[in-house]
């Protein structure tokens, strides 16, 4: 497995890189890959099927200079705070481990290093539902995955000091969803390391996750290939940087 060190970039670039790695992996041009990245500026990504009108407060996002990009994966909207959140992504063949065959167990296997990292910090952490990770009972990480031709792309968040008040302003969460979770606002459901009394810098959060992924998957550090970079560039132009894709629903 290959590990790609921290890339700080705009959301359309990050989403394009994830898809480029997946495509290259399907074509057998690159190995299984794990990477860590952050969004700059702070961004919102929305799930493949979400409605930009119903699920994001576009006016607030515009006012705050927060770009909104649609992911290739399903799931919900995410606020990626530039100095409050690290994103991980794993592109891996389904045959890498028996736990990857089943969707539920694959989330646990691939996001396992995040739970390990939280436990290392002394937090009571574990999985909740299909794809969330909770610390002291509140959501601190969410993941989403897609599968194509025997290859899984899974990416997800790790909130170390996300500004939950900004998150609450830019994401629209339906009342039905909050009621289902037994809360009346997103504030009651989400936490960060900072809120749990642990203050980490971006670099410390990155190093913590990197070590955890290295322990779990023993990858070798590498870089993106020219093929992936060219593919990513094309995907920015044609897809993730294009309103036709981002505002398609």
């Amino acid at each position: 497995m290959r590990f790609i060190p921290l890339i700080v970039a705009r959301p359309e670039v990050q989403m394009a890189i994830d898809e480029a790695i997946m495509r290259a992996r399907i074509e057998g041009k690159v190995p299984d890959t794990v990477r860590l990245y952050t969004f700059s500026p702070s961004s919102v990504t929305i799930g493949r099927f979400q409605s930009v009108v119903h699920d994001v407060n576009l006016d607030e996002a515009r006012k705050l200079g927060i770009p909104v990009v649609r992911r290739v994966t399903g799931g919900g909207s995410v606020f990626h705070d530039e100095y409050g959140e690290v994103t991980y992504s794993v592109v891996v063949g389904e045959d890498y481990h028996p736990m990857l065959r089943n969707v539920e167990s694959s989330y646990r296997y691939l996001a396992g290093p995040l739970v390990d990292a939280l436990k290392e910090l002394g937090l009571e952490a574990g999985f909740s539902g299909l794809n969330d990770i909770v610390a002291n009972g509140k959501k601190i990480s969410g993941s989403a995955q897609t599968r194509r031709k025997g290859v899984i792309l899974q990416h997800g968040t790790f909130m170390y000091s996300t500004r939950v008040e900004v998150l609450g302003r830019v994401l629209r969460v339906s009342k039905a969803k909050l009621a289902d979770k037994g809360v009346s606002s997103i504030w009651e459901r989400v936490t960060t390391l900072e809120r749990e009394g642990i203050n980490l810098s971006r670099w410390e959060a990155y190093e913590l996750l990197k070590e955890s992924f290295f322990s779990a998957f023993e990858p070798e550090e590498g870089g993106l290939t020219d093929y992936e970079l060219e593919l990513a560039e094309r995907l920015v132009e044609e897809k993730y940087g294009n309103p036709e894709w981002n505002e398609s629903r």
Binding site: S51, S77, N131, K177, D180
Partner: protein, 92 residues
Amino acid sequence: MKHHVGEHKAKKGLIRIEFDERDGRAEHVRITGDFFMHPEEAVHELEQKLEGHGIDELESLMDEFFAMRMDIEMPYVNIEDFKIALKNALKE
């Protein structure tokens, strides 16, 4: 013309179905939400399946669609969840 929107929270994810009703038919059918479905293209294909049909036919068309598509995976979501979202849209 009447705009219908119906939501339903499945075990994992919210499903929202909306469409315009014109002369008893569904137009501009949109299925949105934070659920998961692989392959993802199937959501658009389901919308197309429903597009332009009488609103009283939509539920059976949904059944037909999922019965034919054995390749679709929807973790923690089932066909009933889509049908409840549709019923909620029709109640509006």
